[in-house]
């Protein structure tokens, strides 16, 4: 059975995400903090 995936027109394999999406990820990374308090307790925090 042929399992080749054919992409529809307009869905090029060299597509890149929007600049805003990248910016959102970098912003999230800068604001995200996690801290391990004990072996079974870790908390996450988003800074403003």
């Amino acid at each position: 059975m042929d399992k080749t995936t054919t992409l529809k027109d307009g869905y090029a394999t060299n597509a890149r995400p929007d600049a805003q999406t990248i910016q959102n990820i970098l912003n999230f990374s800068r604001s995200y903090e996690t801290q391990k308090i004990s072996n079974n307790f870790q908390f996450e925090m988003i800074k403003n």
């Binding site: 869905y11 995400p17 929007d18 990248i22």
Partner: protein, 194 residues
């Protein structure tokens, strides 16, 4: 520091140690492969951007929590996360089916908003005022039958009993009330339609 020359493992290590810039280089290095994969499955650019963002949010959380242990296989690991999120997306979509409008079919042509517009509401109020004025011009006995039938919701049998006339007389008064109302509308140039 030459980030461009670094391996994924080195960039990951730097990022875990607090070098935010290393993440930019990791994204730049692999965004095309990861995003193309997501887009090829989802085939919607906006949704693909959302899934791509969620993929990196998950990557960031895993790296920061120190749960990453696939040194040297960052791309394969990222693609696996993206793949799982694509599956989650389709599961969600299956649970909440959505219909997107296209050239041939638009759900909003079938589902109309029945809420009256402010303009229609004003016209309705005006029609009611005009109608009320006209009704008050009817002869007393016709006005009484009309009120009992339309405003009190009585049957002609009840109207006949209440006004002390036969059903036929009550029906006749109602008929004349409507004929006279139409005449009054023409005479007063009143339109009772939206």
């Amino acid at each position: 520091m030459d980030y461009k020359a670094m391996t994924d493992a080195e960039l990951v290590k730097l990022y875990i140690n607090g070098k935010e810039q290393a993440l930019s280089f990791l994204i730049a290095k692999h965004e095309q492969r990861i995003f193309s994969y997501i887009l090829s499955k989802i085939q919607n650019r906006d949704l693909a951007n959302d899934v791509f963002q969620d993929t990196f949010v998950k990557i960031i959380k895993t790296l920061r929590k120190g749960n990453y242990n696939e040194e040297g296989k960052f791309l394969q690991w990222s693609l696996r996360i993206a793949h799982n999120l694509v599956i989650d997306h389709f599961r969600r979509q299956k649970r909440i089916p959505t219909i997107a409008p296209n050239d041939e079919y638009d759900i909003f042509k079938i589902l109309k908003d029945e809420t009256p517009t402010a303009e229609n509401e004003m016209i309705k109020v005006q029609i009611e005022k005009d109608l009320h004025k006209l009704i008050l011009l009817l002869p007393e006995e016709q006005l009484e039958v009309l009120k009992l039938r339309h405003f009190s919701g009585l049957s002609f049998k009840d109207i006949a009993e209440q006004t002390g006339v036969s059903i036929n007389t009550a029906l006749g008064r109602m008929r004349y009330a409507l004929i006279n109302l139409r005449k009054l509308m023409l005479d007063n140039k009143v339109t009772l339609s939206m």
